[in-house]
């Protein structure tokens, strides 16, 4: 267990340290996310009272698209210089590598969310930070998304068409997490009673647990030739 944790933290530290130096992954995700919000703001041109109802959808489309960009880049960095082989050669449980990469990708997504939310609040005149439940939904949604996204990105990166393949593989699989996250976020934004939001939260938590467990079990087979 100690070795597992040491390897997982080493992978996490390595991804964060490399990103602090290069800033190539986060900057691409951020610019993309901000552009999407900017475009939606003008494309939809909504009345203030209808904005609350579409906010959650716009937010999650932004997170998911930016997240896909980040996942692709995160695994491409490993593949391009043969580093994925370097990781797989280490005498550690390969699930530790998976969890290290997933934790790093989750942190990148949450950093993007932390910057996107205030910008969104200004553009759409909605204070998103006044709703702590929304922050919980963002965490749970991002966790589910990166759990399955890291697994599928690892699979896609080994093909020639990796940039196109990841969204094709990933989007159908994340529909449950996307629907649950949009519904739960909308519930918190419209201050619906908790009983109405709870089923969506339960779905998100179940998805997170099930897909993290599946990824833990199949990661070794996916990276094996």
């Amino acid at each position: 267990m100690k070795g597992f944790l040491r390897a997982m933290l080493a992978v996490l530290w390595k991804d964060l340290a490399a990103e602090v130096r290069s800033r190539e992954l986060l900057s691409a995700m951020l610019v993309f996310a901000l552009l999407v919000i900017f475009i939606f703001n003008f494309a939809l041109d909504l009345e203030p009272n209808t904005r609350a109802s579409i906010t959650s959808g716009v937010l999650w489309v932004t997170f998911i698209f930016a997240g896909t960009l980040g996942l692709n880049r995160s695994l491409a960095i490993e593949k391009d210089r043969g580093c994925l082989d370097g990781l797989l050669l280490a005498p550690v449980d390969r699930a530790a590598i998976y969890f290290g990469k997933t934790a790093a990708n989750l942190i990148f997504m949450l950093v993007v969310a932390a910057i996107v939310l205030p910008v969104y609040s200004v553009f759409y005149n909605i204070n998103l930070f006044a709703r702590p439940g929304l922050l919980l939904v963002i965490f749970l949604g991002a966790e589910g998304y990166t759990a399955i996204g890291t697994l599928l990105a690892t699979m896609a990166v080994q093909t020639r068409t990796r940039d196109m393949l990841l969204p094709i593989l990933l989007f159908p699989v994340v529909i449950p997490v996307l629907v649950a996250a949009v519904k739960a976020s909308a519930g918190f934004l419209q201050t619906l009673p908790f009983e109405e939001i709870q089923p969506w939260l339960n779905l998100l938590i179940t998805y997170d647990i099930v897909f993290t467990a599946i990824a833990f079990m199949v990661f070794d087979s996916i990276v094996e030739e």
Binding site: A10, A17, E19, R81, C83, L89, A90, P91
Partner: protein, 244 residues
């Protein structure tokens, strides 16, 4: 009779879908040997090394490294292997020292910091320890790649065309490091197309053609500068037989 081979491979078959790359390959390496694995492109050299490195699973056959069977005991095998390929397997946005620290943690090297200093000195990069790897020349990256591979003091070093893309000076520096590793008794298996270079470095030459080892000879058994003739004869004889 007791078997002392550090690497023992029998009847190894590797298929990728309908394509058969290795066709019942037999191979054995004794401790301290420096084996050059020669062969034309597409012979299966890289596939064979990837199986030895536990990066690829055999379709059939027995593979033992240091007494551990692949793929069942892959983690134990990985602990005893160092791998260098033509790609550096290093992170450009980390310094040389940080790369070694990361891989040291992955291999559970202890004490780590003193070992990192020792390895950097060995590969002649102690003055560039805190520089980002992406600022290194190709030759320096390859020397650091060897440092990464020997960091955990493995029994066996697998090298897949490590001279690819290196200039003459970088090749010579790399050769000096490999000779030093061989002098220390490290068992080395290296694939290469550069016969002149491996003739100087290796203690044994094996030729891989169409998925099997078709010839194997110790250095003492071939005359000086006779490796090219041996290689051509081995390939000509084997491919002339039309192996299925």
């Amino acid at each position: 009779m007791e078997n002392h081979a550090l690497i023992e491979v029998q009847g190894l078959v590797k298929r990728f879908g309908p394509k058969v790359v290795l066709r019942g390959l037999n191979f054995s390496v004794q401790p301290g040997e420096f084996v050059a694995l020669l062969g034309p492109n597409g012979a299966g050299k890289t596939t064979f090394l990837r199986i030895l490195a536990s990066l690829s699973s055999p379709s059939m056959g027995m593979v033992l490294v240091a007494g551990y069977a692949l793929p069942r005991e892959a983690a134990a095998v990985r602990q005893r292997l160092g791998v260098v390929s033509h790609l550096p397997l290093l992170y450009g946005d980390l310094t040389a020292e940080e790369n070694l620290r990361f891989f040291g943690k992955m291999y559970g090297v202890n004490p780590l910091e003193s070992r990192i200093r020792e390895v950097l000195r060995q590969v002649g990069l102690e003055k560039r320890a805190r520089d980002l790897v992406r600022t290194f020349s190709r030759g320096m990256q390859q020397r650091l790649a060897i440092g990464r591979a020997i960091l955990h003091d493995p029994d066996v070093l697998l090298l897949d065309e490590p001279h690819t893309g290196l200039d003459q000076d970088a090749c010579e520096m790399l050769d000096e490091i490999l000779k030093e590793e061989a002098r220390r008794g490290r068992t080395i298996v290296m694939t290469s197309h550069d016969l002149a270079r491996v003739e100087d470095l290796s203690s044994r030459f094996d030729v891989l053609s169409r998925g099997v080892i078709c010839a194997s000879v110790p250095k003492e058994s071939i005359p000086k500068d006779g490796l090219l003739t041996f290689y051509r004869n081995a390939l000509g004889h084997h491919e002339g037989k039309g192996v299925e």
